[in-house]
Symmetry: none
Subunit: 248 residues, 2 copies
DNA sequence: GGTAATACGCGCAAAAGCACGCACATACAC
DNA sequence: GTGTATGTGCGTGCTTTTGCGCGTATTACC
């Protein structure tokens, strides 16, 4: 097996499981733990995974639990997210201008995006931008101040840039989804970016697993009717029949 | 078998399998590993496949080792760069607005930057922005299109943002430094960003090891007199005595 | 809070992979 | 026939990768 393939295999294992231990990887790939550690170091430097004590986690998870070791490995919504992203990615059309919001779900979406002609992706996340560029996509980044926790760009520069753009379609994550309170998120500044970016987009999609239904976060960034929701898993009955909710 | 046919066969094998090893190809095509390596070199230069240690992969899969180029390069003039960066970092003053250009030398600079009150760093590189944020610096990113090779932002959005800013000081890298041709870089778009950012900066510093003196790259972004050069190593005699050249 | 277990990084040596130069062979032009 | 250009195989020395051992750091458990 090519070393390059091994690195890719590690990345996809980490992406899929959320986190893996060094012995697990060594066993699965037929090399010694030493080699795995070196690989993890390489991938960490390349910002493709996050190396932690005991193994590696996906980048998205590392932001929430930066210094924690791999003790709990609950990736319940994993399969769901895969299906959601596959469906959402299929909605991108050739020659379109597409907005990608920051967040862990949309990061996963990027891995599923097809290579279509004439598509430009715009994002407010430097992390997402790197992944897009890595996949060979034409990528534009909003300007602005970088929030260290989420690697998202906020502030007047980000909003001013958005004001000049008009997107064919866009994909957002949301911490809360509720019929009355709409789509909500914990951060005021990020909410602003989400709100303005949505305002400049023709076809708006919120991608989320079922656990967010009924949740409400501090700041609202859009009305429930403002976007089509692509989701999977056990959606509460109340939402299942709504015509802007697509369950895959 | 014609050499041309063999090259095509290699490409289609790589495309189909995603990756292959040198011995596999040699076996399948009935030639020696030497020939295969030469073929891979040819195809890599033509950007039809990506040559990696042990074989080749399709271009899409190749990104793991690809973006190590910056970190690899940064090991070259190691000691010199450390000294240069330490000296340059000491030039940042409290309460200032500082521009950091993209490039491997300026990336190293970031590790040396002090934690001063009231300092905001602005950069055109998403990679640099991440490192700044990781170190707890207040970080602003220019908007614009992301160039995959260098992770730098270019284009009208980047330039428009720069037009609104005025920096107290700034640090740039340069591929070529020559008395007559000035500071030069290989890329037209990046040169534009460098040029405009310099125009909005009061104290301009180019940080570079001695190897760049006398070199000329395709596009000029500033006159030789426009910046103070901080360097180390064996600077050509001609440049040693110039009053905007500081050797550490 | 102390101790055992695990994980880590570093240096070393073997093995695999690599570039480079040289020799030969085939092909083509004059 | 001679000369030149291109392609291929092979040997040599160098680089990269890998596994292993050991001292140190981190985590888990009582």
């Amino acid at each position: 097996m090519l070393a390059e393939d091994r690195l890719n295999a590690i990345v996809s294992m980490v992406q899929q499981a959320g986190s893996v231990t060094v012995p697990e990887l060594a066993e699965a790939l037929g090399v010694t733990p030493s080699t795995i550690r070196r690989d993890l170091q390489t991938l960490d430097r390349a910002h493709r995974i996050a190396k932690v004590h005991g193994g590696a986690t996906s980048l998205e998870r590392a932001h929430v639990t930066r210094d924690l070791t791999i003790s709990e490995r609950s990736d319940l919504h994993n399969d769901d997210k895969e299906r959601i992203c596959a469906r959402a990615a299929a909605l991108v059309e050739p020659d379109s201008f597409v907005y990608i919001d920051s967040g862990s779900t949309t990061l996963r979406l990027i891995e599923h995006l097809p290579h279509l002609d004439g598509v430009t992706y715009v994002t407010d996340s430097v992390l997402h931008a790197q992944h897009l560029a890595l996949r060979g996509m034409r990528t534009v980044v909003l300007g602005g101040e970088l929030k260290p926790e989420t690697e998202a760009l906020v502030g007047p520069d980000a909003l001013a840039t958005l004001d000049r753009y008009n997107f064919n379609c866009g994909f957002w994550g949301s911490n809360g989804i509720a019929a009355e309170q709409g789509f909500t998120t914990p951060d005021i500044e990020e909410a602003q970016v989400k709100r303005i970016s949505m305002r400049h987009t023709a076809k708006r999609f919120v991608i989320s697993d079922a656990s967010k239904f009924g949740m409400v976060a501090p700041v609202k960034f859009a009305d429930f009717r403002d976007a089509t929701i692509i989701t999977a898993g056990e959606v509460p009955a109340k939402y299942q029949s709504m015509d802007n909710v697509t369950t895959v």
